[in-house]
């Protein structure tokens, strides 16, 4: 049996399994036709690769240390950002706590500085996570909630962003899935999905409520996180 085109290519690229490769080579030993096809495929490929080298530019002088330094710096920056968000969250909680003197103090200070009518309460720190969607990203809310919803919007960004403005959730992610542990939560969520994302699914417990498959979107833009009616 002669080699088909897939086998010829796989033989060239060492992508046949060990026994399949042995069989193919046995056949080549007795079949000049297939041998000629393999040689021709190899020569054509090498000719094309030689042409491709004409458009190459010198490789940049970037080494692993530079990349590690950038990655480490980014992690350091994230720590600072996390610290600031935490501090803001604590301040906001103190500000909003019943009986807290902070609103009155702030109002007094604002009036003293600017003479304005009052001060807006700062927003609480929001929990969230951003991930690169890859080819297929599953966003999984682990539980139904007693209340709350997830609002989905499409963006021009490169990453999927999930935020819980009230901050009551734990996020876990891997290259193709993002898990939101929302047990006992009644938070609402915001989910931003890049228009360029190939495929993104949103599941709540064991139910898929949303699918973006290329340009086609199936599901509402506001997803109820409450259990479906029986």
């Amino acid at each position: 049996m002669h080699l088909d085109e897939e086998q010829v290519e796989r033989l060239l690229h060492r992508e046949l399994g060990r026994s399949a490769e042995a069989s193919a080579r046995e056949h080549l030993a007795v079949c000049p036709g297939c041998r000629g096809r393999v040689v021709q495929a190899e020569q054509e490929e090498e000719a094309v690769y030689a042409l491709l080298r004409h458009v190459d530019h010198p490789a940049p002088g970037i080494d692993a240390r530079a990349v590690v330094a950038r990655g480490t710096h980014a992690v350091g920056s994230m720590r600072w950002a996390a610290g600031i968000v935490l501090a803001l969250g604590v301040a906001a909680a103190a500000f909003a706590a019943p009986g807290s003197p902070l609103p009155a103090w702030a109002k007094a200070v604002a009036g003293w500085i600017g003479g304005g009518p009052g001060v807006r309460a700062p927003e609480r720190g929001a929990a969230g996570i951003a991930v690169v969607p890859g080819r297929n990203l599953v966003i999984h809310f682990t539980s139904f909630q007693a209340a709350g919803q997830a609002k989905v919007t499409l963006t021009d960004d490169a990453e999927v962003l999930v935020r819980a403005p009230s901050g009551a959730a734990t996020f876990t992610s891997d290259v193709d899935r993002l898990v939101i542990d929302n047990r006992g939560s009644s938070a609402s969520f915001e989910i931003q999905i890049p228009r360029t994302a190939t495929r993104v699914e949103i599941w709540v417990n064991r139910v898929r409520l949303f699918l973006k498959d290329g340009p086609r979107v199936t599901g509402p833009s506001v997803l109820p996180l409450t259990p479906p009616a029986p």
Binding site: E6, E44, V48, L51, D156
Partner: protein
């Protein structure tokens, strides 16, 4: 509504990421991966885009993200390709045609080893322009497939990057080679 697959369950990292400093083995593996794959990722992106600065940025950014991730995914090469290609698509969508033309004009002036004679320099410039034009005219999937294989990516990574059935990668690669040759030869015949 459909049922979630039961496989969903094991996850590798927390949203609050593990700090790379606490995992020296990850650091060593990362450096090995970088040394083995950075240049071929760069070269793939350079050939794909025709923009060496953009290619260097994208390749570096992909590795920075991998480092920040704090652990290696199951298929790190496919992961790096996926991140770089997402960034590339994003960059493509926001770039103006004017910039692209400027870059092409500039890249044509890049010569690593100047040929010994003006005739050879002219011939090399013509070949470079013709190859670039050929790549730009190829169907997107075939172009990416050809360039990935030219950098030695395995069939499974090519299939993952292009969302293909791995069993048919060989045939599709052969088609991509033929497409390149046909377009290149047609371009050479053109006045």
């Amino acid at each position: 509504m459909s049922q979630i697959p039961p496989a969903l369950g094991s996850y590798q990292r927390e949203g609050t990421r593990a700090l790379p400093e606490s995992t020296p083995s990850f650091h060593d593996r990362f450096v090995s991966l970088f040394d083995a794959h950075f240049h071929r990722l760069y070269r793939y992106l350079d050939r794909l885009s025709g923009e060496p600065e953009l290619a260097a940025d994208l390749a570096q950014e992909a590795f920075v993200r991998l480092y920040r991730r704090g652990s290696l995914p199951d298929a790190p090469e496919a992961w790096l390709l996926s991140v770089a290609m997402n960034r590339f698509r994003n960059a493509q969508s926001t770039r103006s045609r004017r910039r692209r033309l400027l870059t092409v004009a500039r890249s044509e002036g890049v010569l690593s080893d100047p040929p010994p004679s003006p005739e050879q320099a002219l011939a090399a410039k013509d070949v470079r322009r013709q190859v670039r034009a050929t790549l730009d005219r190829m169907p997107e999937r075939e172009r990416r497939m050809l360039l990935l294989r030219a950098e030695g990516y395995r069939y499974r990574d090519i299939a993952a990057a292009l969302d293909l059935n791995e069993a048919s990668v060989g045939v599709l690669l052969a088609r991509a080679i033929r497409a390149f040759r046909t377009i290149y030869e047609d371009a050479g015949d053109a006045p």
